[in-house]
Amino acid sequence: MTIREFKLPDVGEGVAEGELVQWLVEPGDAVSEDQPVAEVETDKALVEIPSSYDGTVKELRAEEGEMVPVGDVIITFEVAEEAEEPEAAGESEAEEATEAEATESEATEAEATEAETTTPGERVFAPPSTRRLARELDVDLQSVAGSGPGGRVTDADVRAAAEAGTERRTAESPEPRSVTFGSGTPAVSRREPDEPTVSRREPDEPTVSRREAGDRTARAVERVAEERASSRAAGRERTLATPATRRVAEELDVDIDDVPTEKTREGEPFVTAAMVHDYAESQRAAAETATEVEAEVGSVSEARAAEAPAETLAPEETVEATGGESGPVPGDRVPYRGVRRSIGEHMQRSKAEIPHAVHYDGVDVTDLVRLRERLRPIAANRGVKLTYMPFVLKAVASALREHPYMNASLDEDAEEIVLHDEYNVGVATATDAGLMVPVVRDVDEKGLVEIAAELNDKVERTRERTIGREEMQGGTFTVTNVGVVGGEYASPIVNHPEVGILAMGAIEKRPTVVDDDVVARHTLPLSLAIDHRVVDGAVAAEFTNHLKSSLSTPERLLLE
């Protein structure tokens, strides 16, 4: 046995140090190569640091919460001899001698372990076209986990690897396995910087009377619907798949024509074994949720009968306190670091540099509510959940086009106002780590369903922190949906260097005057903050008027 030191690797992007958030192993634990041993948070991302060795944890050299410079030894391992040396070999001659003395059984053991963890012959199973694609995208196939039968690497796997930027960890400096996202761009926009609570499920959907009692029931039922949607049978007539995939489908009792897919071969839907597995899984999950919810609905009805309707948010969906189970408790001093600090500094800069002005208004969205109800099942048939957000984004793009100074940036150094020719709208998204703003590009050129699908995907990946940093850059305007948590009006902070940010309140029935009668109508409160250096209040009002006309008469969006 020999001791191997493991240094905090360069996690990329010029990061010089990281906070050791959490150890995932303890001394004495057996670890295998690539197994995550620690979570390290830098100001760019939260990353898992994988072990480079098969062996046993000997010593942890850093405390949780400590800032560790790149290159410092953070952990040591006891490694059996012959276990493949990712670290520069021959650290010392003496060590080699010790290694040579290792007992034969140890050596055999190590070889056995190695045989299990490495692909024989370093072979990667991927078709020639995929291998070429990997070269084109500069992806090391060895580092790609294949989703095909037996782990075969597909084009999609390679593209995903390219997007995730998962370069092969070199032996010298193992890179983190799950680099998630950075915040070189504004991760930002809400007022409530430390707000930990957010509905996990549909933060971009203005809530319709969410806080009424019985809401929980409605939500639970909706969840079933969602689960079903995700496991919805595609019901095609014809599906392409390899024979091995068909066999998997048979084994899992799945009709291959029902497996959702976006892939095609020769213009025909194409299904992989991984998709079959996912689908089988989602069906099981849907069945389970349905059962759970029946029970839940029952108990809620009982509870409602017993007490006054005072619930606010469904407990299981609300609080994601920062830190999770072992998180800080009142009385602690929580370090101001990482993503939290990155958000904070950005906010500070925006608020300090930009003279804000906020314009408030409200719009009757009764027609929009109806339209969305009609379109929702159609979108669902295409496998897309349609919220209000895509309508708002389209309306925003239309208004931005009318008001180019709202789709601009102030370049102070050049003393110029840059009018953007793209309509890239960021959507503020709450995550466990804080606010992130994934960007939907070219909103003006995309259809509602397309926007909905893209947005759902990006929001989900933002929450999972698997979104690429480039997908959070290049925004020209930001929308934040405060209403999903609650409230009507807000004073959002402009997402520097953009000029405007729109906060949406909750869509609820509110007293509205129609033909001289006060009636209950669905309305949407709007709060538009602007950079007063670039535009004046009148522009903010005109911009909001344009939004109102689009959202109150959503047919107008057809003309976009």
Partner: protein
């Protein structure tokens, strides 16, 4: 620079118009590169003119005669007469058609053809000496060069190809009479293919081989099928003997002498001796040192996976770039070289290169053998289907041999295949595709194969490897 020289410039210069060179030239031209192809002898190289194609022509022609003469069991009685000169003319016609096609294709794709021998005169220049006295020469300046000069047969000491009775493989494919007695030196694939051809033409063939078996490099059970069949055709084998020389004999023929390692001598009477002891890369005509290059110990130009030599702008493809010396390998490398020259991310990343031996029966292999798979750390699952259990094989009268499939037991990925038997050279294509695509045994076994065909044996072998074969006993 020589007085009277003309200097021309080209983006890509390809030296040698064999299956590596002409393919590279056409692909380079297709990619919009200004391409010049220099050939000193014949378009199509050894493969088309003196190798693969003429030998296959003879193999097929002699098979026709042999089949007709040995089909009594099928109720056919025939005694075919073979006109060797006419057979040669037919073969020449095939060759002309193909080489003419290559020339036309090159021209149609905009490749400039230059006849002559190219020698490096600098890192970016060659001088092309046109064939024949007084034909002059020209200097060609290039940005990138693709060397595809191929290989030539190795000459044994004491056996000069210039002497009439000493035949190279090329000479053997250009005879106008059938020798009565032939000694073949070397039992590699060329020696075995040509021994079979001449045995079928009625020649008394004696094979002399230094090693202990035919077809070194092939598995014993594979080689054995071919050896047994050759012996049945009347080919005599003498292993452990090296040819040491030859002399004229009194009967107008020759005597070939051999020697064992222990110094034991033997002699064989013959009319001609065919020397087929391997091939050596051609680099001596190139003046490589002027380009700053040097062949390695084995005479090859070493290349990386983008076919680049030590000088990045000079590529080498085909036989001159290393084993295996196979035309299809040369072509694959030629394509990569041209695409790399065009700035594309092409690379030699194939999992396997298939190889075929056109003996009777044929041998074709691709990927790993069972032993190689074990060496690489796989736990191989191996399945086999003998052709004597194949309906289609029975109807062709050729039931020797088998299909073997080697896969990774855990994942099912097909790793290799060895086929010996009728049409093995065609059947191997399916396994090559399976290997490149990362297909599993289950993929091959679950793909419906036409009945009745020899290809079903591939499916059966895959099933056998899974322990699920119908027509063979699973092991």
């Amino acid at each position: 620079m020589v007085v009277g020289d003309v200097t021309t410039g080209t983006e890509v210069l390809v030296i040698g118009a064999g299956p590596g060179g002409y393919v590279a030239a056409i692909r380079a031209a297709q990619r919009g590169l200004d391409t010049t192809l220099v050939e000193r002898d014949a378009y199509g190289g050894v493969c088309l003119n003196r190798g693969c194609i003429p030998s296959k022509a003879y193999i097929t022609a002699t098979d026709v005669a042999h089949e007709a003469a040995t089909a009594e069991e099928m109720g056919i009685h025939a005694d075919p007469a073979v006109d060797m000169a006419a057979m040669r003319d037919w073969k020449d016609g095939v060759v002309d058609r193909l080489t003419g096609g290559v020339e036309k294709l090159c021209k149609a794709n905009g490749v400039d053809l230059v006849e002559g021998t190219a020698r490096f005169t600098g890192e970016n220049t060659v001088r092309v000496e046109h064939g024949g006295e007084g034909q002059g020469s020209e200097t060609v300046e290039f940005e990138r060069c693709i060397v595809s000069t191929g290989s030539r047969p190795i000459q044994l000491p004491g056996f000069d190809f210039a002497d009439d009775p000493v035949l190279s493989s090329a000479d053997a494919l250009d005879l106008d009479t059938v020798p009565d007695r032939l000694v073949v030196v070397g039992a590699g694939y060329i020696g075995m293919e040509l021994s079979t051809v001449f045995a079928k033409l009625g020649t008394d063939v004696t094979v002399v081989e230094m090693l202990s078996d035919v077809l070194p490099g092939y598995e014993d059970d594979v080689a054995r099928v071919v050896r047994t069949k050759a012996e049945n055709l009347g080919v005599g084998f003498n292993f452990g003997e090296g040819a040491s020389g030859w002399r004229d004999s009194a009967d107008g023929g020759i005597v070939v002498t051999t020697e064992t390692e222990d110094g034991e001598e033997s002699s064989y009477a013959a009319d001609a001796v065919l020397v087929a002891v391997g091939r050596r890369p051609v680099t001596d005509t190139l003046d490589l040192e002027n380009a700053g290059l040097e062949p390695n110990e084995d005479g090859f130009l070493e290349t990386d996976d983008r076919t680049r030599t030590e000088r990045d702008h000079i590529h080498a493809v085909g036989d001159v770039a290393g084993e295996p010396m196979l035309a299809h390998k040369a072509s694959a490398e030629g394509i990569v070289a041209a695409e790399v020259a065009a700035g594309e991310p092409a690379a030699l990343d194939h999992q396997a290169i298939p190889a075929a031996v056109f003996t009777d029966p044929e041998i074709a292999t691709v990927g790993l053998t069972q032993a190689e798979a074990e060496e690489e750390g796989f736990t191989p699952a191996v399945g086999q289907m003998p052709f004597n259990a194949s309906g289609r094989a029975l109807t062709t009268g050729h039931t020797d041999g088998f299909v073997r499939v080697v896969a990774d037991e855990e994942s099912g990925f097909v790793l290799g295949g060895q086929i010996v038997g009728p049409e093995a050279s065609e059947l191997v294509a399916e396994l090559a595709l399976a290997i490149e695509m990362g297909a599993t045994l289950s993929d091959v076994a679950s793909t419906i194969h036409t009945h009745p065909t020899l290809a079903e044996a591939v499916m059966e072998a895959a099933e056998n490897a899974m322990g699920e074969a119908i027509h063979t006993l699973n092991r």
